[in-house]
Amino acid sequence: MNKLYLNQQTINAARLTAKKIADSVQTFIDQHTTISVERALCRMLGIDGVNALDIPYPNIIVDHIKDNADLSKGVAHYLSYALAEHKHAPQKIAEMIDQNCLDLSQYDKLEQSPHIALLTQYLTPQLNRIKRQKATRETMQLKPSKTPLKYVIVATGNIYEDVKQAVAAAKQGADIIAVIRTTGQSLLDYVPYGNTVEGFGGTYATQANFATMRVALDQVSDDQNRPIYLVNYASGLCMSEIAVMGALERLDMMLNDALYGIIFRDINMQRTFIDQYFSRVISAYSGITINTGEDNYLTTSDAFLEAHTVLASQFINEQFALNAHMKKSLMGLGHAYEIDPAMPNSFLYEIAQAQMAREIFPEAPLKYMPPTKHMTGDIFQGVIQNALFNITAVSTDQTIHLLGMLTEAIHTPFMSDRAQALKNAQYIASAFQDFSKEIKFDENGMIVARAQSVLSEANQLLSSIKNMGLFTALENGVFASTKRQMTSGKGLEGVFKKHAVYRNPVLELMKKAMAGDV
């Protein structure tokens, strides 16, 4: 698939530059842990549930250590000593701490724990469950749906209404259901517990909600005889915890991008890069596809002028994912159809950009976002914007095809909005079935020229990011014209430099398992 005559050397150069950028952040990541990483580890040990005050037990343990001891040694250090001493399951340990029956600070001054191996028996059930879930997913995917996969969101705020919407959408032809999160959740430094019915613009990501939706989708998947994929957000302050929950409940995809959190949620960059790494290792191990958030840049910045920032960021995200041992086939790099419809030849430029992404990341299940910024209250016009987007998605062979809603500028989707979106996409997919095979672009034309110039701008941008380092680049507002400081933003207080005795047995086990795999 080479329609754009892109220079492979430029692509290679850009990739190499991105690798240097990511590697330099990786050095920092490897030296640090966060409260969320430690809580994720707790969850892998089977610690779950909330106390009488609705505080999740993983938080209870981690906060306990943070407040009373030295978290830089990692929960594994403390818990392994406690297990050695008390022979209780980690969950029990957590409950004891909650009831002030146990104080882990007693192990603080002890030497590097000789009992880390004791944790393995408690990790095994979760690891096995994840392996089983992965196998189930792979079996189901033997009958894959035709790409682009039609992806719709549900966002009622109430998991039970979400289920109704999701089931209806699946029956109408959706391949992927994303349960959007309530507006506030990404800034919560804990994961709420249980089934929930109160969210704004989305529904809380909880393990129970994941499970409820998974059951419903498995059911409709059986009825429809095709996989129905489930998506949520391993994003925000609890990236890696949610990655664990998603792995356990067989989610298929996770929105997962530190850059999104930094730019759009004002999450501290140190914190979220560390969280992201562990979350990606977990997703890589679990066979979960990630979705990155570059598309969002174009909702803030101009989609024509800043197209190269999306590409540069995709290159970086690819390297971050590779560093987390992720296969390219799990990298749902994000981009979007956001050029102002008032711009002449907007369709040509969109085709150029979409095809470019496809050619540069041939193995990636690209996530292609519909027009949102230039959608207006004129829902009839919106239908056309979505149709042009759908044409582009189909004609450039995108993988994950987020369907645009005619009411994008108005409200989170009604059931009928989603149905209309699915009909739009289905009609276009059929009408343009073999279109991309039939057409060639003029080698000296504007489509080819546009793609080439975006690539070369991205390449230049990467060089300059490499020179200053990613942290500084973000301080300069390189993406989405948004400046963020290295030491401000939410969640910095949860970052810890690893102590010499620090161990993360989950990371170690998963990396080892994947070593043969990648």
Binding site: T156, E161, Q165, D378, I379, T407, I410, H411, F414, M415
Partner: protein, 247 residues
């Protein structure tokens, strides 16, 4: 028991509804407020004018979302439908063979100035529609399709001439209710000639339904998504009933 319902956006009984219309006034803040007031006058709350646009100096267009304030009770909603069980082509043919000793004559036309034939052809011609054969292919039925633009008098004359049992009328153009005018005239013509009881008279078209047909004095009415067997099922049973009790 009452069965109260409201429209559904994404939560039961949220009452969400979309509207659009033009007002013959300028597009400005007052126009928007007027559009909002109009929608509120319909018993809709939380009215949100999501789009407004000038169509001309004194015409403005609005797209609106809102919430229907009052639920309706659907418990007592009954639907006027043709309540014959629908038979297959084979079953209809067998039925005719069993119950009648002659070929049944169906005569049809698109009447008045209406030139749309695709609908009546779908019911009457060999080929039928969407893979369902038309009456012409039914054994025991003689189907005579007079085509379009047939005036009411001609249709009646031809029906008598061919000893028709069933008359089929198609009406597609409905602007300014021209179809109602045209259909009413046919019934009046039959009654004036004292021939109403002589035929089973069935109407059809994109804006026709059974209740409209009954209201206008016809035996049945069929809208979109109806095929020859729907019409024939009704007609043969009605004819059988007629021959049994009427004569």
């Amino acid at each position: 028991m009452k069965q109260l319902i409201r429209p559904y956006g994404d939560t039961l009984n949220d009452g969400k509804i979309q509207l659009s219309f033009t007002l013959p006034i300028a597009c400005n803040k007052k126009g928007e407020a007027s559009a909002k007031a109009l929608v509120e006058s319909l018993g809709i709350r939380d009215v949100s004018v999501v789009h407004s646009e000038a169509l001309d100096d004194a015409f403005s267009y609005y797209i609106i979302y809102g919430t229907v304030a009052n639920p309706i009770d659907i418990e007592n909603i009954t639907v006027e439908t043709v309540d014959q069980a629908v038979m297959s082509k084979d079953a209809i043919e067998a039925y005719i063979k069993e119950k009648f000793d002659k070929e049944l004559v169906f005569i049809g036309a698109s009447t008045g100035t209406d030139a749309h034939t695709v609908g009546i052809d779908a019911i009457m011609n060999m080929k039928g529609f969407n893979g369902h054969y038309g009456l012409e292919r039914y054994q025991g039925i003689k189907a005579i399709n007079l085509g379009s633009q047939v005036d009411n008098e001609t249709l009646l004359k031809q029906a008598l001439h061919h000893h028709a049992d069933v008359i089929l009328i198609s009406q597609t153009v409905t602007q300014k209710n021209i179809h109602i005018k045209n259909l009413t005239e046919f019934i009046e013509l039959l009654e004036a000639e004292n021939l109403r009881e002589r035929f089973i008279v069935i109407i059809g078209g994109p804006r026709i339904d059974h209740s409209l047909a009954k209201e206008l004095g016809f035996d049945a009415g069929f809208g979109p998504k109806n095929y020859a067997y729907d019409v024939a099922s009704f007609a043969v049973e009605a004819l059988y009933f007629k021959q049994k009790y009427d004569v």
